[in-house]
């Protein structure tokens, strides 16, 4: 098992009091498995991804990644974990504005120590990014930016890819095409994939589909 979440709880304290977002998440993602995570807006999908990605702490339960318990990590180990074990694709602001497309794509792979020029070349070709390598993020459309973010994550070949509505800002056709590619490339790279999406149609293409409702996972 790559990722294993058991009885994970998370609540936020706001002005109106404590809000329980996740109360008892049980979710396993196997190696090279792709899982679609759906749910209503505000149901806690992003929160779940952040916990799995070591970006935030869970209040209870355990998040085990390849045998390691994230709860035991300090900030340094969390950073190491994010650098080497996961790849994250968010809805926006994925890219480093000061680096051009080529540098953005290889950035994570180099940080993780898994840089592979040939694989990267292959990726950029397949994602249609070759003509844009020397451009800067702000000179790209939203869809192109997301493709770069996906390319960067795939280039790093992390054991687990966490993608939070990566095509949420794109039109349907483009979004579908990009995700299609992402799926097959993730399989090539041997990465497990946990993907948040609203699109049921897309969700069906993945190995498995789970729904987040009322703070719990319902299949």
């Amino acid at each position: 098992m790559t990722l294993s979440m058991t009885a994970v709880r998370k609540s936020y304290t706001t002005a109106e009091g404590v809000i329980e977002i996740l109360n008892g998440i049980d979710l396993d993602v196997g190696a090279s498995e792709s899982v679609a995570l759906t749910g209503e807006s505000g149901s806690g999908k992003s929160t779940l991804l952040h916990l799995a990605g070591g970006l935030d702490h869970a209040d209870g339960g355990s998040v085990i990644m390849q045998g390691q318990d994230l709860a035991k990590f300090g900030e340094r180990e969390r950073a190491d974990y994010r650098r080497t074990q996961v790849g994250l694709v968010f809805q926006q602001f994925n890219l480093i504005p000061s680096l051009n497309v080529a540098a953005n794509i290889s950035f994570h792979a180099k940080l993780a120590g898994r840089y592979d020029a040939a694989w990267e070349l292959d990726l950029t070709e397949r994602l249609g990014l070759a003509p844009y390598l020397s451009r800067f993020p702000e000179q790209l459309s939203g869809g192109q930016q997301q493709r770069v973010a996906i390319a960067r994550t795939l280039a790093a070949r992390p054991p687990l890819i966490l993608a939070d509505e990566p095509t949420g800002n794109l039109d349907e056709a483009t979004g579908d095409a990009v995700l299609e590619l992402m799926l097959s490339l993730a399989k090539n790279a041997g990465s497990a994939l946990l993907l948040v999406t609203h699109s049921m149609r897309l969700a069906h293409r993945l190995d498995r589909k789970v729904i987040l409702r009322g703070g719990r996972i319902v299949e």
């Binding site: 992003s46 952040h50 990605g53 970006l55 935030d56 900030e75 340094r76 950073a79 190491d80 974990y81 994010r82 650098r83 080497t84 994250l88 968010f90 809805q91 926006q92 602001f93 994925n94 890219l95 480093i96 504005p97 000061s98 680096l99 540098a103 290889s106 950035f107 994570h108 180099k110 940080l111 993780a112 702000e138 939070d164 509505e165 949420g168 800002n169």
Partner: protein
Amino acid sequence: MRFALAALLSHWRRKPLQLLTLVMGIALATALWSGVQAINAEARASYTRAASVLEQGALQQVVSKGGGGISIDTYGKLRRAGWNLSPVIEGTVRFGASWIKLVGIDPTTMPREGQVASITDGSDISSFFSAPGQLVVSAATARKLRNATDMRLKISENVPDDAAFVDISVADRLLDARGKINRLVVASEQRPGLDPIDQVAPETMLRENTDKPDVARLTDSFHLNLTAFGFLSFVVGLFIVYSATGLTFEQRRGTFRTLRSLGISLPALTTMLVVELAAFSLFSGIIGVILGYFIASALMPGVATTLKGLYGANVPGSLSIRPEWWVSGLAIALGGTAISSVRSLWRVWSLPILAAAQPRAWQRASAKTLAYQATAGGGLLLLSAVLAVTGSGIVIGFGVLGALLLGCALLLPGLLAISLASAERVSRTALTQWFWADTRLQLPGLSLALMALLLALSANIGVGTMVSSFRLTFLGWLDQRLAAELYVTAKDEDQATRLREWLPQHSTAVLPIWSVEGDVFGDQLQIFGVADDPTYRDHWPLIVADDNAWDEVASGKGALINEQMWRRGTAKPGQTIAMPGGWDATVVGIYSDYGNPKGQVIVGIDALVAHYPDVSKLRYGIRVPPESAPTLRQQLVSEFGLPETAIIDQISLKQQSRAVFEQTFAVTGALNVLTLAVAGFAMFSSLLTLSGIRLPQLAPVWAMGIRRRNLALYEVARTLALWLATFIAAIPVGLGLAWVLLAIVNVEAFGWRLPMTVFPLDWLWLGAVALVAAILSILVPVRRLATINPADLLRIFANER
């Protein structure tokens, strides 16, 4: 309308630090500018006051053509011709330890406009005449003179410090003028149909009343200097205001949009913003003027010392409050805010209000902008070089300075961008590559602050180099020039005669220090006589000299002139100058004469005595073996009853000169530090501003596994790198500045040119100060980053904004 204003203003409650930055920016800019203006106004007012009181500046004057003074006969001739004139005998005398400018007047003939009221009012006019005489002085002067003279002292607040009115006969006696009148004051009311003065007495001429006193003209360059510094600080302060308004407007874009959609018209919105800015700038302006007053008060004593040391100008060490500063200070605050916020206001007006807030667009500046800027900077540098080569005059000198500084400042961002790009190219790891690239991304947002920093640092280096070079030259020069071991001043001519007989047996050499004042080529200057002595041949520093200059001087045919006279083009080597009293001398050499605002001529002592038999022979330099100087001093006191203050040894004279020197540049030093502080604050406010829009740039790096702490460290390193680069750039700029100051401005302002010496250790010191300032400027923004809540970083990625 009210709800709209409340909505606009609520921004400041959420961002108190931004408000502080804005207020501080305006206040600092106003403070330094109005402080410097206050100093200048005070000094100028004092010159005018002194001139109108001491020199009867409002009235025309008759002076002698040759500069030698007007005889009683001439005066009588003019009076008989019907002219209503009043004689004045004036000069400087020593009372104990202080030198006093004595103005001897005749109150019975002095026209009312030229009178100091308190002399002639009522009963005690008789005490002005009767022996042993009465000195009319200021209260401060009276305190100094209380035990130094047996004359009566009368206090009049109209009289400037270190000056005294006396009866003309007393002045004649004290100054040993022997009836030579310095000038005749011409009453404004004269009988009609008089023969012109230069017909009645061709040996005299009429001097028009000048609207600007001599000393005011002399000190112009000093005040221009201060103004330049004030302006520099003002510009640096405006940089802060510019970046602060830029940010607040950008951040309130959402509010603007909401207000507009609620039916507030664009003109109404703009009006509200203008009113808001005006209110802020007035409020900050008041703080600034108050601050400026304190700065000026703190600097004023130093300025007074400088003006006295350099120009002999008497300026009070305190500041009076003038309503016009308030007005001009507030006007400066308003004007400055207007200039620096016009761009932001324009954007509110012109950009589609429905466009989303673009915090990054605000800091983005294209390579094209940098190229334009650099071109403008290059153009200014060229202009500066052309001006330096072709122009002359103090204003051109400052033009060269301004163009040089501004040109370099404009070039800086471009140069930094190029250096950062090359650093990025050669870096090996992804992280270092990102580090340099991201530093370059910050450049547009920081460039104004970096430019301000460059200005402040190079001003520091430049002025520091100038002062240190000057100090080195000055001290060396002092060592040579003050060769005699003791300097003695006799009480009167009798005592001087006895000294002349006694001293040769008790010393190696006696060097008379005798001088007269007179006109040469229309300049009032001092003429000194020197003995033919090896002391001069060995020690006196000559810049330009004929082979046998000293022989020529000793023979009475040659004259030496000081550097000031030469640089100002009054005379040059080989030229024959017409000396007052109708004789000629040929310029055979030039000597440096630092600290003297006026021209000076040195001739042989015999020639001096021959042509000016009335010269006062009171002062002497005495050469003795250094170890016997104290004994000789003792002997002089016991044998001649000379007061301690009449004998100065070389060491204390040097000390005094050094003290005056250090005081002279204390003001410049203080202004330097203030400018640097303002620039440091500019950097702080820019970094703070940037830190607000930095999160989206840093969040992805954090998500990919770089800790917040390390991100914070990179931020520090980034700031330090930019400071360091700016500091390194400031060194050549500062040296260029020093060169302009030494080779152009000083020559124009003071009439002397100094060799430039470089003091790298001073830079190290400045570098250390800059380093501390850099760390201080990044501390707050970086602490925020290091401890930021991950939730804040995560929010960046969610599409909920």
